[in-house]
């Protein structure tokens, strides 16, 4: 048997989190060191997985399978493909930098790192799970620590409201998706005789036509809406599953938990939240929605493109008018996640590749943004854009990080954002040209608000009350910023590090969709 690298990646954070709980409460430095050690370990393993993934062979690799509840067809199936491998790497990166940034957490750091790591375990788990039940299992584990992390360590003004809102939204989404998943389980079981939550087997059954029966006779007075007299099972179940997960991906009109959540969360949690958790939603929507129900996807995609467009343009506009820097970044996440959804919704090879890279690129970029905003806020104690200014002098590292993040966010060539966004627009142009035109508007708006924010926050006159009060950032913070910036530049300059990998994953999706 091969080295069970994936299960070690998944369970390292959780085990580390539980061990951290055993450290006495007053040993704060030891707690942090233990957290850092675990994060470095997970990062190294995820890098190893990324570079050892055999792109030529494609498909799911590093497969592991453990019996868990065979009576019900539940097993712990783990594996990565070209789409999830970058996301595992992303999670490792954000976990590592998140621990560095959170060095200053002084209120119960033990509980903080324990919860953060349990969350990380859930995230890793979702990215590598190949079993529907396990996917839900890990998904919920990724959701509930969020509540406590935001409510306890968050921004005093809105944390209770935001934490509850976020948790309820995500829980609603996941249980709605769960019902759809259970329906798939029974239908597959009945048609093939094998009751299983294994997604590979469900996908095989779908390809054999298990889902092609009529599930709903559309009444005549509604046929204008659905364009057809009957809907098959796939078409009925797809919206449940897709939207259930897409809530976490921040799709319009279920997006408004996300800016509130980002703003209220402490820095490391915002990084996790916008950087990784929203990808979790988009990824699960892809894996369970599009990959298991491709015909449903084809039927519903036209209006999902429309929703994604609203995300992109509306999100960018809202970000443009924000005064609070963290809210601006929060809404820019909504806008950028819209691009991911748009890429998926095109169901073209280019669009999907772009969306896959965008998930990674946006994750790193937004983690960097939130880290930078957090550093500014910790020192200036305000995030109001008009009240800030001249931060480049005391905080040059933060300024450089924010500017690089901004360039990525605008899709500047040479950075990972360009590698991601360009194929998305290519894919959109192939399906609905006017959608591509509309979506490209967002680039202009993004450029506007990012540049304005950079000018007002980092350049210009420093308000008098700040002079001399803005302390330096620590070495650890610099390492975090340098790591994140470095990754974005490397992916931007050497797209071959990532694009072929994502492409190998997308190819198999295209096969499912029946195209080339």
């Amino acid at each position: 048997m091969q080295f069970p690298v994936l299960s070690i990646i998944v369970f390292t954070p959780a085990v580390a989190g539980l061990l951290i709980l055993l450290i006495p409460a007053n040993r704060k430095t030891e707690t942090r060191m233990a957290a850092l050690a675990a994060a470095v370990f997970a990062l190294i393993l995820s890098i190893w997985v990324y570079f050892n993934y055999d792109q030529g062979r494609a498909g799911y690799q590093f497969l592991e399978s453990y019996r868990w509840l065979p009576q019900m067809g539940i097993s712990l199936q783990l594996g990565v493909d070209g789409i999830s491998a970058p996301l595992v790497l992303l999670t490792g990166l954000v976990m590592f930098t998140g621990v560095l940034i959170s060095w200053g957490v002084d209120d119960r750091p033990r509980e903080f790192f324990a919860l953060l790591f349990i969350l990380a375990s859930g995230v890793f788990g979702v990215f590598v799970a190949l079993d529907l039940f396990m996917l839900f299992f890990f998904y919920e584990i990724a959701v509930f620590p969020m509540y406590l992390l935001i409510a306890i360590w968050g921004w005093v003004k809105t944390r209770e409201y935001a934490a509850m809102k976020l948790t309820l939204y995500l829980f609603i989404g996941s249980v709605v998706a769960l019902i759809g998943a259970l329906a798939m389980y029974w239908v597959v079981g009945k048609s093939t005789g094998v009751y299983t939550f294994n997604m590979l087997l469900i996908s095989k059954a779908e390809q054999a036509g298990a889902f092609n029966f009529v599930a709903w006779q559309v009444p005549t007075y509604l046929q204008w809406l659905f364009h057809r007299p009957t809907l098959t099972f796939e078409m009925v179940v797809f919206p449940f599953v897709f939207f259930g997960f897409a809530v976490l991906g921040g799709i319009f009109p279920f997006h408004n938990w996300s800016p509130d959540g980002h703003v209220a969360a402490p820095t490391a949690v915002s990084m996790f939240h916008a950087g990784v958790l929203m990808k979790l939603g988009a990824f699960a929507a892809l894996r369970v929605g599009i990959m298991l129900l491709p015909q449903g996807a084809q039927y519903h995609m036209s209006w999902i493109i429309f929703l994604a467009l609203i995300n992109i343009v509306y999100g960018a506009f809202i970000a443009f008018v924000q005064n609070d820097l963290k809210y601006a970044i929060g809404f820019s996440s909504v806008s950028h996640m819209g691009l991911v959804m748009l890429g998926f919704a095109t169901l073209t090879k280019d669009g999907m590749i772009g969306a896959g890279v965008q998930m990674f690129s946006h994750g790193v970029m937004t983690a960097l943004f939130f880290a930078a905003v957090g550093m500014v806020y910790d020192r200036a104690h305000t995030r109001e854009i008009p009240k800030l200014g001249g931060m480049v002098k005391p905080l040059p590292w933060v300024a450089i990080g924010f500017i690089i993040g901004g360039l990525v966010s605008m899709g500047m060539p040479g950075f990972s954002g360009f590698v991601a966004e360009f194929p998305i627009f290519m894919g959109t142009w192939q399906t609905i040209p006017w959608a591509a035109i509309l979506a490209s508007l967002s680039i202009v708006i993004t450029a506007a608000y990012i540049l304005i924010a950079i000018r007002k926050v980092f350049f210009g006159e420093m308000p008098i009350e700040f002079s001399g009060h803005i302390g330096q950032i620590k070495v650890l913070d610099k390492i975090a910023i340098a790591t994140l910036c470095g990754v974005m530049v490397v992916v931007g300059l050497f797209p071959w590090l990532m694009v072929p990998m994502v492409q190998s994953g997308v190819n198999s999706i295209m096969t499912l969709l029946g195209g080339a």
Binding site: F138, F144, L148, L182
Partner: protein, 484 residues
């Protein structure tokens, strides 16, 4: 599956042992000094029950389901599984009773607990209406007394009296229903009864409703739920925990046996299933929404336990082997989880003297360990992995989807969102808010050794039920197979 056999002592071995234990408690009690009574009585009862459990697991495992003692007793895996968990619940409750003032040092309290436990064990295994009624009364009467045990506390007296009045009324209705069934069918044995009814006549429907009334009281299903909050609030907290777990679980087993074997109305009529589905919906929804507004944690847990009765009813409505499995699994997870929640309330309320949710502010700073127990228990109640509550909920909803009760499953998941809201609210007090008087946070929170042990067992159990599914699922399936 009806096999008549001569008296089988193995079938009632746990009951015999518990009875002996009760005698022992009563006989030994006067020999102990006043100040050592608390510890000795508590450990004797709890230890004795753990021993009974161990003996039962070792020598008492059933084979094929059989009816014994003239058809009075069913000796099968359903009875075995539930008896095991009921005895565990009894043992844990005995531990929780130890440190409660005016309860822990009284031998009568432990004796009453054991007496009602015997009744519950018979409820889990009875195969005949007469036996069943006797078992229900054996369970209830000691519980009435226990609920009102704190004679100088007017809430406790009110609780005991209220429980008695409602209990007596509903059990009268139940008995009336039983007697009419006997009049129609000429037999009281479950398996012989089941052959008598092949379609749902209006008369039969009326009788079924009589029976439902009696059982709805036991499991606190709407509209016979309203005793629960008052009784839970007033009775001594360990007793409330016992009421909400063991008593309810025993009620559900009776419900399963009656509505699956004796009166399989769901098999012959979709209407009856619909009635139960509506009861389940109302129970969940009302329980959850009323729980939101509660200020007292025991009342909140009472409404939450009403809501959980609704979730479990979904599994009954599904009327399938998987439904039975999920009901049993849910009961296992629920007994563990709710006992842990009540245990945390006992441990904390004993020190602070308050059961208001507000008084939990600052708990995580005073005692991170107890806060962690509450976190595990409440997240499991709300159905979050990796705890037993999540798996149990998924199984229940899965059985509903399998039996084409799509809307019921949707109602269930929507309700679990409402549930999440108020469970998280409590955790907010525990973890987020500071105590009113910050000095309080530095005071240590003494948790006695027995409590630590009991809470540890429960927390471990919750995690085991949520992570190592296979053995528990097998157990639950065996239990379900003995009636389906």
């Amino acid at each position: 599956m009806y096999v008549f056999s001569p008296p089988n002592y193995l079938a009632i071995l746990p009951e015999i042992l518990i009875l002996a234990l009760g005698m022992l408690v009563l006989i030994i009690d006067p020999f102990w000094k006043e100040n050592s009574r608390r510890v000795n009585l508590g450990w004797l009862t709890a230890g004795g029950l753990f021993a009974v459990l161990a003996i039962m697991v070792m020598v008492d495992r059933p084979g094929e389901p059989i009816s014994t003692w003239g058809g009075m007793i069913q000796y099968d895996w359903l009875a075995f599984t539930l008896k095991g968990f009921l005895i565990l619940a009894g043992a844990i409750t005995a531990i929780f009773m130890m440190d409660v003032e005016r309860l822990g040092q009284r031998a009568e309290a432990y004796l009453l607990l054991l007496a009602s436990l015997i009744g519950m064990c018979f409820m889990a295994s009875s195969g005949d209406l007469i036996m069943l009624y006797l078992a229900i009364e054996t369970t209830s009467i000691p519980l009435y007394v226990l609920a009102g045990f704190l004679l100088t506390d007017k809430f406790s007296v009110e609780a005991g009296f209220k429980y008695l009045l409602f209990g007596a009324m509903t059990s009268a209705v139940l008995l009336y229903g039983f007697s009419l069934f006997y009049g129609m069918a000429g037999t009281t044995n479950f398996y012989q009864l089941s052959a008598q009814f092949d379609r749902l006549t209006p008369l039969l429907l009326g009788l079924l409703i009589f029976i439902l009334v009696g059982l709805a009281f036991k499991i606190s299903a709407v509209p016979f739920h309203f005793w629960a909050p008052d009784v839970y609030q007033g009775s001594p907290t360990p007793v409330a925990g016992f009421l909400s777990t063991a008593s309810k679980a025993a009620g559900f087993i009776v419900l399963l046996r009656l509505f699956v074997i004796a009166f399989p109305a769901m098999k012959i009529s979709a209407d009856w299933a619909l009635i139960l589905a509506v009861v389940a919906t109302l129970t969940m929804t009302l329980g959850n929404f009323l729980a939101i507004t509660q200020k007292n944690i025991k009342r909140m847990l009472a409404y939450s336990s009403i809501a959980h009765a609704g979730y479990i009813l979904i599994g009954v409505v599904a009327f399938s082997q998987l439904g039975g499995t999920s009901v049993v699994y849910y009961l296992m997870a629920y007994i563990m989880t709710n006992l842990a929640a009540f245990g945390a309330v006992v441990a904390y309320g004993r020190v602070t003297g308050s059961d208001e949710i507000k008084s939990y502010a600052g708990l995580s700073r005073r005692s991170p360990a107890l806060a962690l127990v509450m976190l595990v228990a409440f997240l499991s109640l709300s159905g979050m992995p990796p705890f037993g509550g999540f798996v149990a909920k998924v199984f229940v909803f899965n059985s509903a989807v399998q039996s084409h009760w799509m809307w019921l499953a949707v109602v269930g998941v929507l309700n679990s969102i409402v549930g999440l809201y108020y469970y998280l609210t409590v955790l907010k007090y525990v973890y987020l808010y500071r105590a009113e008087n910050e000095e309080d946070e530095r005071k240590p929170l003494p948790i006695s050794r027995p409590y630590t042990l009991a809470l540890f067992i429960l927390t471990a159990g919750i995690v085991m039920l949520g992570v190592f599914l296979s053995p528990w699922y097998d157990l639950a399936t065996k239990a379900a197979l003995s009636i389906f």
